[in-house]
């Protein structure tokens, strides 16, 4: 039907022709990933502190948050937030009369849902990291007369980062790959742009392969970068 000889030069040409579209998509993907990473770290810290606090209510809340999220696929939550969240926000707005029709755009829905999902994983990461710090060190800090903020900066934080980094790296890599799903709710990210371009020049394979390569570059770069960070933070740790 649309026979085309497969020659590498031509393949490069069609991707090159749409390079701006692909780069724009990549920018959206990175923006989305970093935005949801920020949200998930904040939620993760709050969740970890809630899980470790002595307050039973916050413990229960954090526990149900992590169990709920880890039981449900991210795309389902994303769709629920994108389609359902829109309605909740608008129902609430018309109920209270505070705002009229609000439209949640796909980027907000994407960042919120991915951040919310990975916040649960981050909660577990940070909780484990804080628990890995020997209790005696914090007590030693108190007995040296440190105020809680100093204890956090001097004792908890540096060690928490070290303990959390491997699991954090893992979460970030999974998060980065999860961003591909936002194309399903219509955000014009890398996957969406590439499949549009692929359909219009009838070379879906070429464009999807380009997407895979771009994702591979992103994950490989962050893998190397975070490994470097792990080495940096474990510099003064004793080798076991």
């Amino acid at each position: 039907m649309w026979a085309r000889p497969i020659c590498p030069k031509q393949i490069m040409e069609s991707v090159w022709e749409y390079r701006i579209l692909l780069l724009e998509g990549t920018a959206v993907t990175i923006q989305l990933a970093l935005g949801s990473l920020l949200l998930s770290v904040i939620l993760g810290l709050i969740g970890a502190l809630a899980k470790l606090s002595s307050n039973v209510v916050s413990q229960k809340l954090a526990a149900s948050y992590t169990t709920l999220i880890r039981g449900v696929p991210d795309l389902v939550l994303m769709m629920l937030l994108f389609y359902g969240g829109q309605q909740i926000v608008n129902d609430f707005g018309s109920f209270t009369g505070l705002w009229g029709y609000l439209e949640i755009n796909q980027l907000t829905a994407g960042i919120t849902s991915i951040g919310f999902v990975f916040g649960a994983y981050m909660t577990e990461t940070f909780r484990g990291a804080i628990l890995a710090i020997p209790r005696g060190q914090i007590e030693a800090g108190i007995s040296c007369g440190m105020i809680p903020r100093t204890i956090f900066y001097r004792i908890t934080w540096p060690q928490m980062v070290r303990h959390a980094l491997p699991s954090f790296t893992n979460n970030w890599l999974v998060l980065l790959k999860a961003t591909a799903l936002v194309s399903v709710i219509g955000l014009h990210d890398l996957v969406w742009n590439a499949s549009t371009a692929g359909r219009s020049v009838r070379e879906p394979f070429t464009f999807m392969f380009a997407v895979l390569i771009i994702y591979l570059l992103l994950t490989a770069t962050s893998d190397i970068g975070l490994r470097w960070l792990e080495r940096k933070y474990s510099l003064r740790a004793r080798e076991v």
Partner: protein, 256 residues
């Protein structure tokens, strides 16, 4: 309109569900059979892919663990590629992408397999889970206690026998907790199915919402289905671990 007393209980419930309840639960109950079919599709594809991927991963893991001079690098490339890229894009690549090539369309595989979403999904999912499984199996093989292998060699076992009698059984035991994560991860990833026209659980949820112009019902039902499945699977794995890793449990004084 009939007065409330003339209505049957079901009609009353339907009325409440349609007009007062935030979620139209009667509508969901009316279509619950579709969700069960969706669950079967999800489980079928996930289980088949896990089976194929699991079988595929064992030789890959062995070749990686023993740094086979010929296969180690290619297998590393394969696992790195599949673990470093999103499953959604891998699925698109095979399902939408392969039609780009005429030789694929003319091949004998096109009509029965490669043009079907179901088979494409099974192929991609199997390759994907094989990559992840191979890597953690490799870790488990490399962590086999040296003493066990030396003891087996000292007993006069051949390399092959050491592999099948000593290394693999203890590897599978130690890899079991990681494997339960992989199974749940695969179940979660199977939502990708709904993007390539397959009516899995999420696919049914999207269909329901699209058909009745709803915002939550389909997704919330799908969410509950996934949660129940994850619960059953993790419970099953805990029982399995209880049985297989019995020797690692702390001793209790119950029977002492």
């Amino acid at each position: 309109m009939a007065s409330p007393s003339d209505r049957t209980f079901w009609e009353y419930l339907t009325h409440i569900s349609e007009n007062q309840s935030p979620l139209d639960f009667v509508l969901v109950i009316d279509h619950i059979d579709k969700f069960f079919y969706g669950a079967i599709v999800t489980l079928e594809i996930t289980a088949l892919s896990l089976l194929i991927g699991g079988i595929l991963s064992i030789p890959l893991a062995i070749a990686r663990a023993y740094k086979h001079p010929l296969f180690n690098r290619p297998i590393w490339c394969y696992t790195y590629f599949f673990r470093g890229t999103p499953l959604l894009v891998q699925t698109y690549l095979i399902y939408y992408g392969l039609a780009q090539f005429d030789f694929v369309k003319e091949s004998f595989l096109w009509d029965p397999i490669l043009s079907k979403a179901w088979w494409c999904a099974v192929i991609v999912f199997s390759l994907n889970t094989a990559a992840y499984t191979a890597e953690f199996l490799r870790g488990a093989i490399e962590n086999t206690p040296r003493g066990e292998i030396e003891a087996a060699r000292a007993c006069g076992m051949s390399h092959k026998r050491v592999m099948f009698r000593i290394i693999l059984p203890s590897t599978f035991r130690r890899a079991l907790p990681a494997y339960s994560n992989e199974v749940i991860f695969m179940l979660h990833s199977s939502v990708v199915l709904s993007t390539i026209t397959i009516q899995d659980i999420l696919g049914v949820g999207r269909w329901l919402n699209g058909r009745y112009y709803l915002a939550y019902e389909g997704f919330i039902t799908a969410m509950m289905f996934y949660m129940i499945l994850v619960f059953i699977i993790s419970r099953g794995f805990r029982l399995w671990e209880h049985y297989w890793l019995a020797h690692l449990r702390p001793r209790t004084n119950q029977h002492a």
